[in-house]
């Protein structure tokens, strides 16, 4: 990028480091241009676009059924929730009421997705602060969820299980049994997560008071999800704009007010417990019924604008469809949680050390394809 201007604006002892796009802590292909004085970070400038595929442009040529599978490839760790966002937007536009069964199944898989994403994040968080073992423990538990997905949806990551109007297939007969097994297993493992990392004095020293984000800044920078909730901004879309079966269940919104990396960490750990409780409320009460309602082969949305918010594992995903009445959207915008959350990175890491930057990035929990789209 503009190395020359950066060089010219250097003070005497500052220097410039290129962190990424191939760097273990940037979780993919994010490039950070760091201006550093010794170990102290003076400026962080993200350079994006290494995995930009222009999904929004591709959506403009695809039919609404086809758009769904593109959203798998944005935030691939909460692919089901992304799928659901598009489907909900289309269903709301067409004024289709999906069966109760679909709503419940969608919510269960949403929460499983959230747990799966958070377990991966937990493992990677441990790895970023130097505890490599947590990575394997996180993946061990995540593997069980992936098996459930594979059995029911056919794929482990890019599931594409939702279609406008319902689900692609009914749940597998083993689904309920396996989910219950997983919940029982995971309830014994979550306390271990706490023993291994949460309580650990080194981990607390590394994260407490690091990357502090005030509530006002969280709102101003458009933060959402665990990042905003770690700062005390109550923004859970599941609470304020409930979708699918979320209006029938009770759960607490994980909220911490410290705003540091440790608070964001605790929010995610607590969210896993909440997700378990949501699944437990629903798993025994999956109503009988169809798994989809018939839609036309060619879906045409009425002229207008449709906005659908959902809460992915990373925050608020917005799907904004502008339709002119045709079979393709005129404009499709994905408001990705990652881009807004990343935009505050410079704000909260300046003045910290390189180690702080890594810990903060881990708790912001970015998924680069979600930012680049």
């Amino acid at each position: 990028m503009e190395t020359d201007t950066i060089n010219n604006s250097f003070k005497s002892e500052e220097y410039f480091i290129n962190m990424g796009p191939q760097h273990p802590a940037t979780h993919g292909v994010l490039r950070l241009l760091l201006t550093i004085d010794g170990e102290i970070i003076k400026k962080v400038e993200p350079d994006l676009g290494y995995i930009h595929r222009s999904i929004e442009k591709m959506c403009e040529r695809d039919s609404y059924q086809q758009i769904v599978h593109l959203t798998d490839r944005m935030d691939y760790l909460s692919s089901h929730i992304n799928n659901e966002a598009v489907c909900l937007a289309v269903e709301n536009a067409l004024e289709i009421e999906v069966p109760e069964r679909v709503k419940v199944i969608r919510t269960i898989i949403d929460e499983l997705t959230r747990i799966s994403s958070h377990t991966l994040w937990w493992g990677v968080m441990g790895m970023d602060v130097g505890a490599l073992t947590s990575y394997f423990y996180g993946f061990r538990d995540r593997e069980l969820i992936n098996d459930i997905f594979e059995e029911t949806c056919g794929a482990r990551l890019t599931m594409n299980y939702n279609i406008p109007g319902g689900l692609m297939q009914d749940i597998h007969p083993n689904f309920v049994k396996r989910v219950k097994e997983f919940i029982a297993h995971f309830k014994t493992k979550l306390p271990e997560y706490d023993k291994l990392l949460t309580g650990n004095i080194i981990f607390q020293k590394r994260t407490k008071g690091v990357g502090v984000l005030s509530k006002e800044d969280a709102i101003a920078f458009g933060a959402s999800g665990p990042v905003a909730r770690g700062s005390g901004y109550s923004c859970d879309v599941r609470k304020y704009h409930p979708y699918s079966a979320l209006d029938k269940i009770t759960f607490n919104e994980a909220l911490h007010t410290e705003g540091d990396s440790y608070a964001r960490y605790l929010v995610r750990i607590q969210e896993m417990w909440e997700s378990i409780s949501i699944i437990e409320q629903l798993i025994d009460n999956i109503p009988e019924g169809d798994f989809k309602v018939a839609t036309k082969a060619v879906i045409k949305l009425p002229k207008g604008e449709y906005y659908q918010k959902v809460e992915t594992a990373r925050g608020e995903l917005g799907v904004y469809i502008i339709s002119t009445g045709g079979k393709n959207p005129h404009r499709m915008k994905f408001r990705s949680p990652g881009l807004s959350n990343l935009s505050l990175l410079n704000h909260i890491t300046v003045g910290g050390k390189i180690g702080d930057l890594v810990a903060t990035m881990a708790t912001i929990d970015i998924v680069v394809p979600d930012i680049d789209r």
């Binding site: 890019t158 594409n160 279609i163 291994l196 990392l197 309580g199 004095i201």
Partner: protein, 158 residues
């Protein structure tokens, strides 16, 4: 005083952490989650819904049930399916009928979204559970799904 309680607290939390890993170390014999992949090929079975690649099942008479309606081709977001078809006279009814010549599937472009199989009205294509799809030449990823000489099963209508 908090100085010493800090030290005590710190050491205690560290030992707790070591307890967790130590427990797994002792159980490592049977607790290992590693799948020794190429060795367990025989026992490794994918779930029945697993999306490996699109195949067209043929029965013992070398007949499939693809009518050439092209719904899968339209449903595919990536253009991975191409159907070359022809109108031929059906020898039984004597009417002209749409028959497939080649059902071409580009595995290299497929994103395993499953829309084609969802769209197929006659269940002519389905998912195969094989997952070792790597080949040495990209052209091998383009496959013709209907076998040579196969024809559509009688009674399968569009």
């Amino acid at each position: 005083m908090s100085y010493f309680s800090d030290i005590y607290h710190g050491i205690r939390t560290l030992l707790t952490g070591m307890g967790v890993t130590g427990k797994y170390f002792l159980h490592s014999r049977k607790g290992a989650i590693t799948q020794q992949y190429p060795d367990n090929r025989d026992t490794l079975k994918m779930f029945e819904r697993f999306r490996g690649e699109v195949v067209m099942p043929h029965d013992e008479n070398n007949e499939h049930s693809c009518t050439g309606c092209q719904k899968c081709e339209i449903a595919c977001p990536n253009g991975s399916i191409e159907i070359i078809w022809d109108r031929q006279v059906d020898p039984e009814t004597g009417k002209k009928k749409k028959l497939i010549d080649k059902h071409i599937y580009h595995l290299g472009m497929c994103t395993q979204c499953g829309l084609c199989i969802d769209a197929c009205p006659s269940d002519a294509i389905k998912w195969a559970q094989n997952f070792e799809n790597a080949v040495y030449d990209r052209s091998q990823l383009t496959r013709v799904l209907n076998r040579p000489g196969s024809k559509v099963r009688a009674g399968v209508e569009e």
